[in-house]
Amino acid sequence: MNITAEKRPAADALEGVKQGIPIFIGYFTTSIAFGLLALSAGLTPFQAVLFSMTNLTGAAQFMAINLMAAGALAGEIVTSVMLLNMRYIIMSASLLNKIGFKTKSDRFIIAFGVTDEVFSVASMKPGGAGRYFMFGLQGISWLGWASGTAAGVTLGAFLSRSLQDAMSGALFALFAALLVPEIKKGVKALIIALAAGGVNTLLYYKYSLSAGWSIVIAMLSVTALATLLFKDENNESDDDLIIPAGEVQ
């Protein structure tokens, strides 16, 4: 593979920023919601912004503040966040051959900014993505996520009490909004989600497990069962991201 990253650092970085602008917009608006919801979950503005700056991850951050509000333990929260984000392993593994790493520290820096959206842009780039392209792409993405949360916590300071009460349910609205596109692709997603919700409800009420561990067990058991039952998934949506990525080589 022929990666031309080193030749034009500034132009490559600018190209990365350009291709990252749609990501910036998407992250910024979603992250406003994160800032608002983090406040209603009981985080301080500083904690909310710190969360986005250090984690740069979507649904898992929303899940974490939900579990924090439920009083879950650190171990429960970290376990469920890592389970939800295990797909990053696949993304990084796939990107390894598509990014023009020059030094070891490139790997340490670029790893921090691997997200679903960055992954798909970098994977689709003809000829592979150079390090400066990645710096630009990931930099603008990080900026969108971090500044969106800052905007959200600022906005939250001006909201009325009754609106803040209504917002405590908005977290679930967000989960539903993340789930609906999956369900639109196939009824399998609806079955998996309902089964996981059912198992979680059972564990939480009938067996009085804590909110965090019941989610972890529901996720793992239903996912394992679905993996066994739903075989032969050639047209799985997320695989579509991975297959073209392989063709770049």
């Binding site: 984000n85 967000l174 909004a177 239903v222 679905a226």
Partner: protein, 102 residues
């Protein structure tokens, strides 16, 4: 409590970073068997299901209908518009309305 939250945030950051950085140092990691890929594809879907149920019912103990109607509004909006911001706004509006007037 505040220190604990900071600790959780940083622990999550470390966990997420490890998931992203370790494969950068292990060549050949992109040849995972299909069932592992399926497992990782299904995980977020199961997670969202477990996050919505039973949380949606318990989030408004005085008026569970407010939470349920809010999520329904979000789901319908998401189905027709896509994106995240419009569904969240629709949900907050519906929930606020029910909490105010019912």
């Amino acid at each position: 409590m505040n220190d604990n939250i900071i600790f959780i945030i940083l622990a999550c950051a470390l966990g997420n970073y490890l998931l992203r950085v370790v494969p950068f140092f292990i060549p050949g990691g992109d040849n995972l068997p299909p069932f592992v890929k399926r497992f990782l594809d299904f995980m977020p879907i199961a997670a969202l299901g477990a996050l919505i149920l039973p949380g949606i019912v318990t989030s408004f103990p005085q008026n569970p209908a407010a939470g349920i109607a809010g999520v329904a509004a979000a789901a319908v909006t998401a189905w027709f518009t896509g994106g995240l911001m419009m569904p969240v706004i629709a949900s907050i509006s519906v929930t606020w309305f029910i909490l105010q007037f019912f």
